[in-house]
Symmetry: C2
Subunit: 338 residues, 2 copies
């Protein structure tokens, strides 16, 4: 296999096989992943990133499918540099990452999604890739921005990131994208209530998909009430109703994504967000590397520690302190109050 | 406030206020939490732990409520030491931990649960406690076993652990309990499919709650098919149908929990499980302590690192390596392939 910089050069010239290989390297983690990330780092590109998140069955994949078509046709509108790369008519290339975090709570949905998205398979300007991140140092929180950075660096102006969608991964993906779309369905009052804090934290806009079903207006009222009761910043997440099966509302959704992007550009939020993203990645990588060191130490001493714990001579806190004392240079282990 | 060992002594003598304070210490984390855990460690008790997990709205709380009543009335049956503490008729004390992991994806449900469980408020033999774990070193994965250990040490023979239920927290709670009950509802075919790997990993038994609704038999077939397609150990997770609102199926559920416990006792699995639990806690604590050390280092150098990253002079991997080199004694940073 060619080395990362050769692949990178080919991918920039439109070679999709080379691009797929680069993303496989990112997915796998390891030293080559790191080289790829470093190359992308040096020529970051200008991609705008939209995350699409929501529970399994909410219709995310069909929505994503429509957003691909709309992105191809319309780009992200006239106002932003992020829409560059489109032709004169505003259209452009679109990349899609479908995230399978390899967590015990996912699986199953991706294959169907990929089959469904094959409607774009013959369109050279659409690149679709599902991605697992089990081996990646720093996991999802680092692998997604790395992959987005690669797609941006090879010239995509728009990257859609779709999650299969349960729990923490949504937070991670939201942190890695510029606009986060949260998809809910009519009748989800209880689920919305239960996930309130999480939804507010990540949503830049809400989509009520399957809005032709009973309960859509109640769900809108639930979301509105939740937003009313929350101290929001300058941007109040709009609520868009769609029926993905008939394309209803897709153009309105696209316009709303564009409005959010413009809002962020106007107040300079994109730079701040991307800066925070770097810090977050750095912290994740640091923690992962430190855990590797700890794992090696544990491996060396595991048998003795286990016996002492099972015998009741050592509790897990004491065991951890003992190992740590042998590992850290200079600085004493902090008190757990720190 | 009295010191942990005084509180611990009072709690063992039945003082519920002292017990609540001990659990507050565990919840908060820090040095006192550690003292409490150490005390519990020295007199571990014999509690049997049942985790009840499932999505918001599945009826976990009502089920838990019934299990409290059944546990009071019947204990866990005649065969196990874990049922000790009951009176001659087999009944016993019951403690309930309702876990609010303080994750962005929870909140909202706990207050309602606590109100609902007030039906046991006048029963001295029932102790109900909701628990957040934001401050705890090692998080949920350590706080739950610590809290369970405290409840066991002060004499509860049965501890129910209920999650509010999304994603990773269920895995953590399952790892901390002896029997894990996964609650699903009729019509959850898609959700079951999407969460297949996760459900199989954690479920010792399945409950189809609200089994009087349409789709219960289809859901049972979905679960059965999923189990058929999986290589299982000696224990095939049984499927129990309940209607928590009318108590239907609760006795059958209780019997099934008892069968699972007996099965584990017979093949010596409980000791192995508890040993693995110690190792897991130890690893979590070690990682958390290491992260504390890393956080201090980052704080010292953050400004410089951020500027270099924003300027594009340093990618997050290089930044992490540089810090790590200053932190770890002797052993060189492992390659990311390790």
């Amino acid at each position: 296999m060619p080395d990362p910089s050769t692949l990178f050069e080919s991918a920039r010239n439109g070679d999709r096989v080379a691009l797929a290989r680069l993303l496989s390297l990112v997915e796998r983690g390891g030293d080559e992943s790191r080289s790829v990330a470093g190359l992308a780092y040096k020529s970051p590109g200008e991609a705008y990133t939209v995350g699409i998140t929501g529970a399994p069955g909410s219709g995310k994949s069909t929505l994503t499918d429509h957003l691909i078509a709309t992105g191809r046709r319309r780009g992200l509108g006239a106002s932003g540099h992020a829409a560059a790369g489109g032709d004169g008519a505003g259209g452009g290339q679109v990349a899609v990452l479908a995230i399978d975090p390899s967590s015990p709570f996912s699986g199953g949905a991706i294959l169907g999604d990929r089959v469904r998205m094959q409607s774009h398979a013959l369109d050279d300007s659409v690149f679709i890739r599902s991605m697992a991140t089990r081996g990646h140092l720093g996991g999802l929180a680092v692998a997604v921005p790395d992959a987005v950075r690669v797609l941006s660096a090879v010239g995509f102006p728009l990257v859609l990131v779709e999650t299969v969608g349960v729990g923490q991964q949504e937070v991670e993906v939201a942190a890695a994208t510029d606009t986060t779309v949260v998809v809910v369905n009519p009748g989800w009052g209880d689920a919305i209530q239960a996930n309130k804090a999480g939804l507010l934290e990540i949503a830049d806009l809400f989509v009520i998909n399957k809005a032709d079903r009973p309960g859509a207006s109640q769900t809108r009222r639930d979301l509105d009430l939740m937003l009313d009761l929350t101290e929001l910043g300058e941007w109040r997440p709009p609520i868009v109703e769609t029926v993905a099966s008939t394309s209803e509302g897709i153009d309105a959704l696209w316009d709303t994504i564009g409005r959010h992007r413009d809002h962020q550009i106007e107040r300079g939020a994109l730079d701040e967000m991307r800066r925070n993203r770097l810090l977050r990645e750095f912290r994740q990588i640091l923690v992962a590397r430190v855990e590797e060191v700890a794992a090696l130490l544990v491996a060396d001493h595991l048998a003795g520690i286990t016996e002492a714990m099972v015998a009741g001579d050592l509790d897990p806190y004491e065991a951890a302190d003992r190992l740590l004392a042998g590992m850290i240079r200079d600085r004493p282990p902090p008190s757990s109050e720190a």
